[in-house]
Amino acid sequence: MDSGTDAQLLAALRAGDERAFVTMVQRHHAAMLRLASSFVPNVAVAEEVVQDTWVGVLRGIGGFEGRSSFRTWLFRILINRARTAGARERRTIAVGDTEAVSDTEAAVSASRFDGSGSWLSPPEQWIEEAENRLEAGKLADFLRTAIDDLPDRQRQVVTLRDLEGLTSGEVCSVLEISESNQRVLLHRGRSRLRQAIETGIGRPS
């Protein structure tokens, strides 16, 4: 069920293999839903956007020649449809670089440093505990919630980069943001996730 690259699945799909389609949908569903949700007001609309995206993929598949990666193509279609749906649902959202990324959010709360900028309250140890919980299957839900709690634009970038594994260039292309904004949003998002894990499972060292 989980085997095959996107390219192999795409070939199977064109050949009429409906299981290949379901495998492909499953592979990208969570990330697509998470991204769509940052543009539209509720899950029901986000699910419509995802379905609609797959209709677009099927319709366009004959013309997809692999000049961009399949994922880039897929997520571009998704973002376009999510924006359209978001506008229709009258949700005002920041997209692209129309809104400047402000540079005020700290990776770590200033209260954890002393006046000279040295750690006052150093990072709590959690790596080992996180690995234990991961093995026990108790980390995934926690982490998913933490990702869902990120601000929209950070969630978009983290989802595409760290969940879906797109390159920074692909993320910039899909979200229509500059490379430097991409990096700032990634930094904020990852920093928040680290903090969430520390708060959730860290112990004082």
Binding site: G16, E18, F21, V22, V25, Q26, R27, H28, H29, A30, A31, Q51, W54, V55, L58, R59, G62, G63, A106, A107, V108, A110, F113, S116, G117, S118, W119, P122, P123, Q125, W126, I127, A130, L134, L139, A140, L143, R144, I147, V158, D162, L163, G165, S168, R183, L186, H187, R190, S191, L193, R194, I197, E198, S205
Partner: protein, 95 residues
């Protein structure tokens, strides 16, 4: 000629945590990179912090999608069959 004049303005921890992503993305200018690594060499807390950021990225990458519910699988198969039927009925614009 002695080249011992290390004109290094030391980083403090609060600055170091803001450089982690640029460091991991290989986007730090060489001078900053050197200063960051020099800071790590003397700061176990920032070394731990970097390790935690790497682990955070790794953990996020291990998340696998939840299985589609049987209902959703059925919906998507129906979607596919619909497309396949339409596709067979009319010539594709791409030829």
């Amino acid at each position: 000629m002695m080249r011992l004049r290390l004109r290094r303005r030391d980083l403090v921890c609060q600055q170091a945590v803001e450089l982690v992503t640029d460091y991991l993305e290989s986007r730090l200018p060489r001078g900053d990179r050197r200063r960051y690594e020099a800071h790590l060499a003397g700061c176990p807390h920032c070394t731990e912090y970097l390790a935690q950021m790497r682990k955070t990225i790794e953990l996020t990458g291990t998340l696998t999608p939840d299985d589609l519910t049987p209902q959703m699988q059925d919906d998507f198969i129906a979607l596919y069959r619909q497309w396949h039927a339409d596709d067979a009925g009319e010539p594709s614009p791409e030829g």
